[in-house]
């Protein structure tokens, strides 16, 4: 098939603006999937993503569509919709020549859409605005068009007006893709050059690479290698297309989107963004733009029941197979026993992994406060990267420390600008810029320490703006900060799982809040329990859990000893579920309670 009849495109849309529905309609219209199967396919996608309103990441789909007597192949590549996965988004975009920008006619352009749209523009994609939900009574088509023109600078006068839900004007979208998205421009005679934009793990086939062939061709038997994992070669066992189920073909050629299997056993050998080439006849240069994805947020994950350590380990291994950006290493805590220190791309990624562990593997977890990576400059002249407060060297050995800074863009209606600025100020933000995108939308730009964002920042932002604000951020570098380790002492003993690294000035407030939370979360026991926050030997906050004074139950009716025993057994079981920190029993909820500190 000639490259002239191929169109590779993706869909950019805000949560709920109808991306998945539109994708479904396109497949339905081109006869790719029957309506019945569509639902099944939707159900297969992850519950968590759906519940949280993250764009559901579908496998790519190949569609056939005939216009003016010519049959075209359309490859729809999906993109994740969240800031944590920005890099993956950019790689998906790099696999396409065009993008549909879906805008809800009743909502207008949203922050995340904008961010992804800019990414698409950077990748030189042809962007086709599509105005969706025109069937809604609240639809404001002209308003949506104006927003697209004002906020992004795209001409929206020709934008298809559709209702994906009602199946209105779907043909217009397909026609626009063919007319406006340029065909691929690869060279089949050149050495193989293919972009990995996603991968999956299959128990039988090993790693399945999702690739866009830029130049050359790949077929069964081709010996391939990847630029980022030098020295390893793999023999291709299967290549195929997404029809939408995986369907083997003889060969994938320049311009094609498909999958490659080569008995690859570890996901870490196939990095999203990397370039696949022919080991015997390699291309000279990899595709540009590859970045090593590094975790930015870390936390300890421990099984609530210590005996489930191996279950947790197996679960992490399984998740890691399909998620190369998840990192973990064994960790131990005096309070929580054996567990893992895990690294994530961002907060959402962290939450998704935690929820998947709990839902898909039925594990009860205790997680520690999230941390970022700090650069620690020692008096010995070393530079250490520390992501775990308990690993921080003694203050006498630290010359100074640096913390990661992000550039955050916050989009908010004008009436909440004061609240947003107040929040950023509280979080040690540095104001950079403020722009009115239109009369209803302001963009605030701040430098913010990442370790301030990982505590409840999103929730607070949402609550202060009644849910209207959204934000995006990118890591910009490290900056020196007055950082200290704050410990929590229970009955005089440090509870390692509660230690955090915090800005010295913020430590007092944080210490007080944590002590208050713990006071509420730790049940009264036989003795009084002082809860203290400390920096080094200096106590900066204190609360007390008073000693329990009454736990005896009333009358022993007619010598019913069994009932008394049952109550005691229950009490004993309750205690077993708690963690022992010295002499203090601490329920799992206490460790979690400090994660939810309101500002």
């Amino acid at each position: 098939m000639s490259q002239q009849s191929i169109r590779n495109f993706c869909i950019i849309a805000h949560i709920d603006h109808g991306k998945s529905t539109l994708a479904d309609r396109l497949m339905e219209y081109t006869g790719q999937v029957a309506k019945r199967d569509l639902e099944a396919q939707m159900l297969d996608s992850m519950d968590i993503e759906r519940e949280r309103g993250i764009t559901i990441k579908l496998t790519p789909v190949r569609m056939h569509y005939t216009m003016d007597g010519v049959e075209y192949t359309l490859n729809l590549i999906d993109t994740p919709g969240h800031v944590d996965f920005n890099y993956e988004v950019s790689r998906s975009l790099a696999a396409c020549e065009g993008a549909l920008l879906v805008v809800d006619a009743s909502q207008g352009v949203e922050a995340q859409t904008l961010a992804n749209c800019y990414l698409a523009l950077e990748n030189n994609l042809e962007i086709i605005p599509v105005i969706n939900k025109i069937d809604l009574p609240s639809a404001d088509i002209e308003g949506a068009k104006k927003e697209i023109e004002d906020a992004i600078g795209l001409d929206a006068s020709e934008a298809p007006l559709v209702s994906a839900k009602e199946g209105i004007n779907i043909k217009d979208v397909l026609d626009a893709v063919i007319k406006l998205v340029p065909p691929p421009k690869g060279e089949e005679k050149e050495p193989l050059k293919a972009l990995i934009f996603d991968c999956q793990y299959d128990n039988y086939k090993g790693v399945i690479i999702f690739a866009r062939i830029m130049d050359g061709a790949v077929r069964v038997g081709t010996q391939i290698k990847m630029f980022q994992t030098p020295g390893k070669t793999f023999d291709v066992t299967e290549v195929g297309i997404f029809a939408p189920a995986m369907q083997p073909v003889d060969c994938l050629r320049a311009g094609d989107v498909g999958y490659i299997c080569a008995s690859i056993k570890t996901v870490s050998d196939t990095k999203v963004g990397d370039t696949v080439t022919d080991a015997k006849r390699p291309c000279a240069q990899p595709l540009h733009g590859y970045k090593e994805v590094k975790p930015m947020v870390f936390c300890g994950i421990f099984p609530a029941d210590g005996s489930k350590y191996n279950d947790l380990k197996e679960a992490l291994e399984k998740l890691k197979l399909n998620d190369a950006s998840l990192t973990y290493e064994p960790d131990t805590s005096v309070a929580l026993g054996f567990g893992f220190r895990c690294g994530f791309l961002g907060l959402l990624h962290m939450e998704i992994i935690q929820e998947r562990l709990e839902r898909e593997f039925d594990l009860d977890l205790v997680t520690t406060a999230p941390s970022v990576v700090y650069k620690v400059f020692t008096t010995q002249g070393e530079v250490l990267l520390i992501d775990n407060p308990t690993k921080l060297p003694s203050p006498t050995l630290i010359e100074h420390m640096e913390e990661p800074i992000v550039k955050a863009e916050i989009f908010s209606p004008p009436e909440y600008v004061g609240d947003v600025m107040g929040l950023c100020q509280d979080k040690r933000g540095t104001f950079l810029d403020m722009t009115y995108l239109d009369t209803r939308r302001v963009k605030l730009t701040y430098d913010l320490p990442l370790n301030e964002i990982i505590y409840n920042f999103f929730d607070t932002l949402k609550s202060r703006t009644r849910g209207y604000a959204s934000m995006d951020y990118e890591l910009t570098g490290f900056t020196p900060g007055k950082l200290v380790r704050m410990d929590m002492l229970l009955n005089g003993e440090v509870c390692d799982a509660l230690s955090i690294i915090v800005n010295e000035e913020r430590a007092y407030a944080r210490g007080r809040q944590m002590a208050e939370k713990l006071k509420d979360a730790i049940p009264r026991q036989m003795f009084e329990i002082p809860i203290q926050a400390a920096i080094g030997n200096k106590i900066i906050a204190r609360e007390t859990v008073k000693a329990l004074r009454k736990d005896v139950l009333a009358k022993c009716y007619g010598g019913d000893i069994t009932r008394k025993k049952k109550l005691l057994e229950k009490q004993k079981e309750g205690k077993k579920r708690m963690r022992q920190v010295g002499s203090v029993s601490v329920p799992s909820e206490a460790f979690m309670s400090i994660l939810k500190i309101d500002d």
Partner: protein
């Protein structure tokens, strides 16, 4: 100890249901005939003349509220089926309004030598609010009647935490302590979801646990000044007037139990009868314990022995523990030493006990003790 047996008989009938009660009781006195027929069948089924009976306890419900002919027949049946010749104590629970001369005479002629009155409070407003049929004056009259029948071993129950003021409660304790009663029980109010009082109070206990602990502490002081010594967490007695039947429970004694919802401990097995009267009546007598039995093995008995013994002021005898279980107390409970070091257990000669000021958190201490017992 082990060759003695006690008997508990449950008489579930009441003339009115108290608003805090969620216990197995019944105000339909028409069921008496059927109930007692079943009760007698059960007593006969378990009859055993070889075991001398140490104490008998008629609990309820309100034993004083049923017909005298049933009470006479009950004692007759017990004497026919068991050896009551050496019995050291027979207690009957009574309510002031139903402890008539006729009932008291019946108790007297059948060997009852201890009466336990459900007084609950001396405050008439409180009594009315919780659905009691008597007022304080009725109680005084009942006391007079009891004394006229030569009952000199009398208990009065009071409840801590009723919907009344703190000082109302203290007033009750002080008032009763000055009366010629020989025994007092103080129980904390348990607010059962199913009780009318729970709905009336919107599920909120009138006093917090801390306030109840204060009230308890004050009551202990007052009673001590009036020569009522605490011998168990909730029980106080003048010299020599401890309730032998209750003590027997705390000493891991064996007891038969008859009637709806009754709990017994015979042949190393704890059992409960069906809770409701209708289930009790409809279950064949040989199946009354089905599904509600627990065999107490050696280790479990040691656990129970300590759980029950530590409720007593005297505590647990270390030498008796070794004699019964063949292992030292400190070895059997690995956390016991630690608890002693922290002051949650004290050793007094041969006995280990809970220190006075920790009595009201005995459950936490026990769960700590048990924590490591089975590991």
């Amino acid at each position: 100890m082990r060759d003695r047996y006690s008997i508990y008989v449950h008489i579930p009938f009441c003339r009115a249901r108290c608003s805090y009660c969620a216990f197995s009781s019944c105000t339909d006195l028409n069921l008496q005939q059927r109930y007692f027929d079943k009760l007698f069948e059960e007593i006969e089924y378990y009859s055993d003349k070889t075991k001398p009976i140490y104490t008998v306890y008629l609990g309820g419900g309100t034993p004083s509220a049923v017909g005298i002919k049933y009470l006479d027949a009950l004692f007759c049946k017990l004497r026919t089926c068991f050896d009551l010749s050496g019995t050291e104590e027979i207690t009957a629970e009574c309510n002031p309004e139903s402890a008539s001369n006729a009932v008291l005479a019946c108790f007297r002629r059948n060997g009852v030598d201890r009466l336990s009155f459900g007084l609950q409070s001396v405050n008439d407003v409180t009594l009315k609010a919780i659905g009691r049929l008597h007022n304080y004056h009725d109680f005084l009259c009942a006391m007079e009647r009891a004394r006229s029948f030569d009952f000199d071993n009398i208990n009065a129950d009071l409840i801590i935490g009723l919907p009344e003021s703190h000082s109302d409660f203290i007033h009750s304790v002080l008032t009763v302590a000055k009366l010629p009663v020989t025994h007092m029980s103080l129980y904390a109010l348990e607010l059962y979801k199913a009780s009318p009082l729970y709905a009336k109070l919107n599920g909120k206990a009138p006093f917090s646990d801390d306030e109840q602990a204060d009230m308890y502490d004050e009551a202990v002081q007052i009673l001590s000044c009036h020569n009522f010594a605490r011998y168990e967490i909730s029980n106080f007695a003048k010299a020599g007037k401890q309730c032998l039947h209750n003590l027997f429970y705390w000493q891991e004694g064996r007891y038969f139990a008859f009637g709806a919802a009754a709990s017994g401990f015979v042949n190393n097995t704890r059992f409960n009868n069906p809770w409701s009267i209708s289930d009790y009546l409809s279950t064949p007598v040989e199946h009354l314990h089905d599904g509600r039995c627990e065999e107490i093995d050696h280790d479990e008995e040691a656990n129970e022995f300590v759980m029950l013994g530590l409720r007593l002021e005297s505590g647990v005898s270390l030498s008796e523990f070794v004699a019964r279980f063949g292992v030292g107390f400190w070895d059997f409970f690995s956390s016991a030493n630690d608890l002693r070091d922290k002051g949650f257990l004290v050793v007094d000669g041969d006995c280990v006990r809970i220190p006075d000021d920790k009595f009201y958190v005995v459950n936490s201490i026990l769960s700590e003790l048990w924590q490591n017992a089975d590991e």
